[in-house]
């Protein structure tokens, strides 16, 4: 069975030979593993895992594509004005979330006079030829190929910042709706450009972190009003082209699972365990309508306690596989506390418990 067949059967809730697999790693994890025996890079780790997924492109439209102006730097960090007009401090040579210092698009006026026209003037920001090459490679490897696009809420936070975004959701909801709509227009036009290149992907993987460990960033009602229509639009666009839809979000999203299903999301990833998400609870209630992709706790992986990790995989695989709608992924990204020896053992557990 190819990876593509496996994932398609997961969406159809039909028997597979084994659960589909994919994973993500912090760069520091790969550096550690290279010292401990991993021969190449993250793609080598994914190959050894037996990944079934192939990303073709990444669509996160910016107002000023390619802009990256270094404003200041020290031994550890550099402060950069980015393609979205914001200023953020990044680590040099290591991963981690940047510190956002300011946002160029900090008023509705700035949006309407500068950022909105700039985004609409650059409707296609994807290297479609590269996407076509990746598609050919994915097909040769038998993988399930997918377009990747960032959704409106994540775009809002990057463009105007958390605080302004969340306050405007109360005080100026029409502004929020407009940003989300314009962003979604540009994403879908960009993805359309990939398909126009002759690429025939299997799915759309939508990225957007709309929650943290306690709850969604805004109420379910506010999400339904301001962001959900754009989510549904993206899912409708995908379905009209015969594509399945995966939605990525970190955090505790238990209160909006039904809204995701209503939007047309067919699969949720990575289902963050440390935010209280547990597929042993959600697979029986939502698993027939929403495939579960991930949820293997990186905190447990980081203990390198094989007994603990095996129990995590055994019990969660059992819950997910009972619906035939489950794929393996860590619940975020595998951290550098996990040894290469442990990760090889994890692959062994996935082999053992992930076979139908």
């Amino acid at each position: 069975m190819t990876g593509c067949e496996r994932v398609e059967r997961m969406f159809a809730r039909r028997d597979q030979d084994r659960v589909p697999r994919c994973d993500a790693y912090w760069p520091e994890t790969i550096t550690r593993w290279q010292r401990e025996g991993l021969q190449w890079d993250h793609s080598d780790a994914l190959r050894l895992l037996g990944t079934d997924f192939q990303s073709l492109c990444w669509s996160w439209p910016a107002a000023f594509p390619g802009q990256r102006e270094v404003l200041a730097q020290d031994a550890e960090t550099e402060t950069v004005r980015d393609a979205w007009g914001g200023v953020a401090r990044f680590w040099k040579g290591r991963s981690g979330t940047p510190e956002h210092i300011s946002f160029g698009c900090d008023t509705r006026e700035a949006w309407e006079t500068i950022y909105r026209p700039a985004m609409l003037a650059r409707p296609n920001q994807i290297d479609t030829r590269l996407a076509a090459l990746r598609f050919q490679e994915g097909r040769q490897l038998g993988r399930w190929t997918h377009l990747t696009g960032v959704e409106g809420f994540e775009a809002l936070r990057r463009l105007i910042g958390d605080e302004a975004c969340l306050i405007a959701m109360i005080e100026d909801p029409d502004w929020i709706r407009d940003i989300v709509t314009v962003h979604t227009d540009v994403v879908l036009r960009s993805l359309e450009g990939v398909i126009a290149e002759g690429v025939e992907p299997d799915g759309l993987w939508i990225y957007g972190d709309m929650a943290y460990n306690h709850a969604t960033m805004c109420s379910p009602a506010m999400y339904r009003d301001l962001v959900w229509p754009a989510h549904k639009r993206m899912a409708d666009w995908a379905h009209a082209r015969g594509l399945h839809v995966i939605y990525h979000t970190d955090g505790r999203v238990s209160d909006v699972l039904d809204l995701y299903i209503a939007a047309g999301f067919e699969c949720l990833q990575p289902i963050e365990a440390k935010a209280g998400m547990d597929i042993r609870k959600f697979a029986p209630t939502h698993g027939s309508r929403l495939a579960m992709f991930g949820n293997i706790d990186v905190m447990k992986m980081g203990t390198n306690n094989l007994g603990l990790i095996e129990e995590e995989i055994r019990t969660k695989f059992a819950a997910g596989m009972a619906t035939r709608g489950y794929a393996y992924h860590s619940d975020h990204s595998v951290p550098p506390q996990v040894s290469w020896q442990t990760y090889q053992a994890i692959i062994g557990f996935i082999d053992r418990y992930g076979t139908y």
Binding site: F90, S219, M222
Partner: protein, 212 residues
């Protein structure tokens, strides 16, 4: 006093204009600035914290409430300083070394200010030495450590160790952030842990009262 109750309700609802207007009216009527803070604004933010813990309100509502209180404090702080009145407790807060994430830290900072703590925000990527120096300089009752990433959790352990080793007897240490658990807090010797911004106020109050 009805106006104080109205002020509490205005803060809790995040009504900035009403909060400022009611603060001005209370001061004009001769209400002491300290009473405006303690009997009007702080109870309003306490309502926000309680509702947030129960998921009755979310981050946007918390932000507009904190902003309303901040606007009122702009009027009150010069008067409080003039009268020599300071908050009873001082807290230091920051995101630990190696971590540049700040929204969680900022929310806790707002809520602690809302509970009438004096808050010194050290920003992000704060070294153990900087936390310790600030705790000593400000005679902090509380030090709050935030981390978003599993990769920066070890920096919390180092910071707790540095502060404990300095023997600051009146200083309690509290930790929080997406990957943090009570178990981890216990493991590294932190005095307290809070899972959300509402609970962070309760835990902070409990810790400083224990230390008093």
């Amino acid at each position: 006093m009805p106006l104080l109750n109205d002020l509490t309700a205005a803060v809790a609802a995040g009504k900035r204009t009403d909060t400022v207007r009611l603060t001005q009216e209370l001061l004009a009527a001769g209400t002491l600035p300290q009473a405006v803070v303690e009997q009007g604004l702080v109870p309003g933010m306490a309502i926000v914290g309680e509702r947030f813990k129960k998921n009755e309100i979310f981050v946007p509502e918390m932000l507009v409430a904190a902003r309303a209180m901040k606007e009122a404090l702009k009027l009150l702080e010069p008067l409080l300083a003039q009268a020599g009145i300071k908050p009873k407790y001082t807290a230091i807060i920051g995101t630990v070394q190696g971590d540049l994430h700040d929204i969680g830290k900022n929310l806790i900072s707002m809520m602690w200010r809302g509970a009438n703590f004096a808050v010194v925000d050290l920003g992000t990527n704060v070294s153990p030495e900087k936390y310790l120096a600030a705790a000593q300089e400000h005679k902090a009752h509380l030090v709050g450590l935030s981390a978003l990433l599993t990769t920066t959790m070890p920096a919390m352990k180092e910071t707790v160790r540095a502060i404990k080793a300095a023997g600051l007897s009146g200083t309690k240490i509290m930790i929080g952030g997406a990957p943090i658990t009570q178990e981890f807090a216990d493991d590294i010797g932190a005095d307290g842990y809070a899972a959300d911004a509402g609970t962070a106020v309760d835990v902070a109050k409990q810790l400083v009262s224990e230390a008093a």
